[in-house]
């Protein structure tokens, strides 16, 4: 049976490789995706390349496509991440009482959970104390600088969440939950999505389509709809970053303590 599976895998892989022979060359400017089908005008990627800067004054067109032209897509990606956090919460979280000692998952751990001796705490703790502010500052740079260089809400949010995870691993889960409690990160996740949807509804109140940022110049007091789009993209990225940060830390906290945040022993 294993041999049969191997043969099937090789045949499928060979067919896929055969299919790639018809692809246009990488970066070919005359391929249909880049130049458009003859007789139907310019393609959509040509429009993005030439018109993004005129539309929204954002040099990095990936950010413009993500947050503006494909705003719905990014919004529901954020909702997907939020749903993942909710699913982890719904599956793992033990709300009251906790598990019985001896029957839970942690019964095989006979070691102390709070630290691994002085030298570990001193060396790793000092390094993390030096690193965590730098990581957080860098993640804020990534979020805010997404207009000009690669980066944006998702990446910056993940890095910011990783800094909290690093704090939880340098000390213990309880100390990190004292700083970033469950109530806080769950409400932060909701606030992120509310910020994103709020931009959409705001533009709807001003008699335009959902997530059509150009009309927001009346609210944001910018000169021209282009700058309004640019600033709205920044706001939307901040909302995405809130949700991603909170959900990353929520997933880590629930996974490592098996849902028992009050007295579970984290990683």
């Amino acid at each position: 049976m294993r041999l049969f599976a191997l043969i099937a895998v090789f045949i499928t892989g060979g067919l896929l490789l055969y299919g790639t022979a018809d692809f246009p060359a990488k970066g070919d400017p005359h391929s249909p995706a880049n130049a458009g089908v003859p007789g139907t005008g310019p393609s959509i990627s040509q429009y993005f390349v030439t018109e993004t800067y005129n539309d929204s004054k954002v040099p990095n067109m990936v950010t413009a496509v993500l947050a503006d032209y494909r705003g719905y897509d990014t919004m529901f990606e954020t909702v997907v991440i939020f749903a993942a956090g909710m699913a982890i919460f719904a599956i793992l979280r033990v709300v009251k009482g906790g598990r019985n000692p001896g029957t839970g998952i942690h019964h095989r751990l006979d070691k102390d959970s709070s630290g691994n001796g002085d030298h570990y705490d001193i060396i790793v703790g000092t390094t993390c104390k030096l690193l965590i502010p730098v990581i957080q500052l860098f993640s804020l740079y990534v979020i805010a600088h997404g207009h000009y260089s690669p980066g944006g809400g998702f990446q910056g949010g993940v890095i910011l969440g990783a800094s909290f995870i690093l704090y939880a691993m340098a000390t213990n889960l309880k100390a990190s939950l004292a700083r970033f409690s469950e109530q806080r990160f769950m409400s932060l996740a909701c606030i992120g999505i509310l910020i994103y949807a709020g931009f959409g509804f705001l533009s709807q109140f001003l008699q335009k389509n959902f997530l059509e940022y150009g009309v927001l110049q009346k609210v944001l007091l910018t000169d021209g709809p282009e700058m309004a789009r640019s600033h709205s993209m920044l706001g939307v990225e901040v909302g995405v970053a809130f949700t991603v940060t909170a959900i990353m830390f929520a997933i880590y906290a629930n996974l490592s303590s098996a849902g028992d945040l009050e007295n579970g022993k984290g990683l």
Partner: protein, 133 residues
């Protein structure tokens, strides 16, 4: 070929040499702790050297402070990467070494070898610590 390019090439070549040393060390050494030694020291120094070499090469594009500050920004970021590697790589090595000791990996001591001669038996035995609880 400017002076910066020459310095950059020299730095990168020395870095590659140390990378080669680390690679040979991780392949050939006998036990976990010596492999860790090669990995932790060689890799940190050599990535430092290569990154600084690229930073020095960027100085070729530098004309004046008012015009070419992006070049300085790139060099600053390269120095930042070097500093982080200098900080994190030994710490990770320490944490892994510590957990390896607690995980029960025995270091390969001198009198583990079968071919001990009479001269070596006279020498003081390395003290074998008990694993921490």
């Amino acid at each position: 070929m400017s002076i910066f390019t020459i310095i950059a090439v020299v730095l990168i070549c020395v870095g590659l040499l140390f990378f080669l040393g680390a690679a040979v060390g991780i392949m050939r050494f006998g036990d976990f702790y010596t492999r860790m030694h090669a990995a932790g020291k060689g890799d940190t120094l050599s990535s430092l050297l290569v990154l600084l070499g690229f930073g020095v090469y960027q100085l070729n594009n530098f004309q004046s402070f008012s015009e070419s500050w992006p070049v300085l920004l790139v060099i600053l970021k390269l120095i930042a990467i070097s500093a982080f590697i200098l900080l994190t790589s030994p710490t990770a090595t320490h944490a892994l070494m510590d957990s390896g000791w607690e995980d029960g990996i025995e270091p390969e001591l001198k009198n583990d070898k079968p071919e001990t001669n009479a001269l070596e038996e006279d020498m003081p035995q390395p003290k074998q610590k008990e694993a921490q609880a």
